[in-house]
Symmetry: C2
Subunit: 362 residues, 2 copies
């Protein structure tokens, strides 16, 4: 799509990522040289987004292997790296998938360093192709609305950032959008701010600006009103984990937008790489653990001050406590369709099984 | 309830209000000496909340009368004051009600100064009593849940600030809450942040702190998740205008909470003084004008910096544009009951007409 990626390797075979906590105000690159660095990058959300978390964790394993070899550490060091990285974020299932893939590769090799390096790089390349394919399958949904509206602008609402910044390139939600724009379809994106961490205003607005996609920032409260007034043609969101019956864990607030879409007969799509499917569970509301994060993410907002400095400002009384749930679960009944790298399907067990028969065999 | 009010008169017969744009970080009092000051206070949201807007506009008329007399201006000056104040906020119907009451009083007197002063003061006193009565009627709804839960904490979710800060004393939503707390009922309030202007985190948290009511701040995205997990027993919100069929205009995002309450069988109450009823319209979605405000309220967040200064920070790329709708309309079908100063009723034409038969006669 462009030469712009979120994670890449360096000449001295380390890894670099964009520090997403500094966007959109500063473009800061962080070098990861130890698995601790990778764990920290995931925990502190220097990298975020299910696919990018997976890719970073994979490189975290490579870095642990390298440390183990260079510093002649015990194999238990590598085991600890696996378990620490696995615990770094509880909701995103790609993280576990990437770590399992790394484990399997290491179980079948004698050359740990080379294998971990190449497998991590392959995970990154696979993500690029997966996201591209999500766009290929999602594009016709946008095209169809564009045709129905006689080429008038298609208004797409999205929540959080399931863009290239959450992946490596293309993104999941943004892949059909970027491909539509490339095809000359007129598109406008309503970007939910996505409190508490503002991935919408900080990241989605940033990458849509970079790619010159027409967009408007709204607060998370606004989507319902827009839908009531015919100002949204479709909703597309990402997901951190989707169950075999099609329940979708995604950034907190997604469920509210799904309710509003249903109430106004607006299609609500979820874009996902197959690695986000968790076929081991059915009932998302009961079975997906929801990460609780630091209350200060709610109590403070980070932005650029008049003096051009990145500042954190308190938005409530000093003594007020806050609750900070990172995700919510949207029941499958509110999801119109799922857009995957393999095609579009119904958000139910049958639809998913048809597209991913290999999961049934497991 | 306490000696703490949001608007009061001074010895030299001017008016003072709390500058609510500075809360919760600074308690700043602003003196209103001209009708321009009052208009500015409403427009800039130094005062906000439907009842307080009405009270401020009423004093604005008194100030215009005083200016007219002191400066020997033409009567057209007063007409201009009426029309300017009427245009200061488009959604809140109390504003029109208060101005109509002032007009009627002035139409029936020769002593403009005395009448406008006393009528404005009466509007303020009436609001205190109205809000107290909303509490009297709303309290049993909280008590009932408390009993059902065997005295366990009643979890109430609210959006925006329909507290004493939006009124004079007691508030609308907060009146039953304060009265429940006074009665020793265990209550906990989930406070929606309420972007873009953060009236929840700034104002509701402030007044609940002042009155020692247990509360937790959440982002606007969180309510649905809490409701899905049985962590909300009831929702109570205010309103800026309610139609004769019970459609409710309130702060943007209210509709999303109403959808979530419905989806999880949680009662959704709207607390309102009868002055907020607009019997001239039925269909809220079609007929209530929704104020669009400056996009910078979305693009920037105001809070207290580490250095203790009130700062405004940019949360998106410099070039990103934003849309800022102030209110949305919750259809009556999503409202469980309306809590008024005259009692509790169904959110439909029949229910409202039974409680307010005098409106039918008009």
């Amino acid at each position: 799509m462009s030469n712009f990626r979120t994670i890449w390797t360096t000449e001295d075979q380390y890894v670099e990522v964009i520090d997403q906590t500094k966007l959109p105000h500063e473009l800061v690159v962080v070098k990861l040289e130890t698995y601790d660095d990778a764990e920290e990058a995931i925990k502190e959300m220097i990298v975020r987004g299910a696919p990018l978390i997976g890719a970073t964790a994979a490189f975290g394993i490579y870095l642990a292997v390298r440390e183990m070899i260079e510093e002649e550490l015990e194999p238990s060091f590598l085991d600890k790296a696996f378990s620490d990285l696995r615990a770094s974020r509880p909701t995103a299932v790609n993280l576990f998938w990437a770590l399992d893939r790394m484990r399997e590769a290491l179980d079948n090799t004698d050359d740990f360093l080379k294998t971990s390096w190449e497998t991590a790089k392959q995970i990154v390349e696979d993500d690029v192709e997966t996201c591209r394919m999500i766009g290929v399958h999602g594009l016709p949904l946008i095209e169809e609305i564009s045709k129905r509206k006689n080429g008038e602008k298609v208004n797409i609402l999205t929540h959080c950032n399931a863009g290239m910044l959450g992946c490596v390139e293309w993104g999941t939600v943004t892949s059909p959008i970027y491909q539509a724009v490339q095809k000359g379809i007129s598109v406008h994106v309503w970007v939910d701010e996505t409190r508490p961490r503002n991935q919408g205003s900080n990241l989605t607005c940033y990458e849509l600006t970079k790619h010159e996609v027409d967009h408007t920032l709204i607060v998370d409260n606004t989507g319902g009103h827009l839908m009531q007034h015919g100002m949204v043609d479709m909703v597309i969101v990402g997901t951190d984990r989707t169950t075999r019956q099609g329940d979708v864990a995604n950034k907190i607030g997604t469920y509210l937008k799904a309710l509003a879409a249903k109430d106004n007969q607006i299609p609500f799509y979820v874009a996902l790489p197959s690695t986000t499917l968790d076929m081991s569970i059915r009932d998302g509301l009961k079975e997906i653990p929801i990460e609780e994060r630091n209350q200060d993410e709610v109590r403070y907002v980070i932005g650029k001050s008049a003096a051009g400095k990145i500042e954190s400002v308190l938005i409530c009384p000093e003594t007020t406590k806050a609750a900070n749930y990172g995700f919510d679960v949207t029941p499958a009944r509110l999801v119109t369709k799922i857009i995957t790298d393999r095609g579009v399907c119904e958000a139910n067990e049958e639809g998913i099984a048809k597209l991913f028969p290999e999961f049934e065999e497991k």
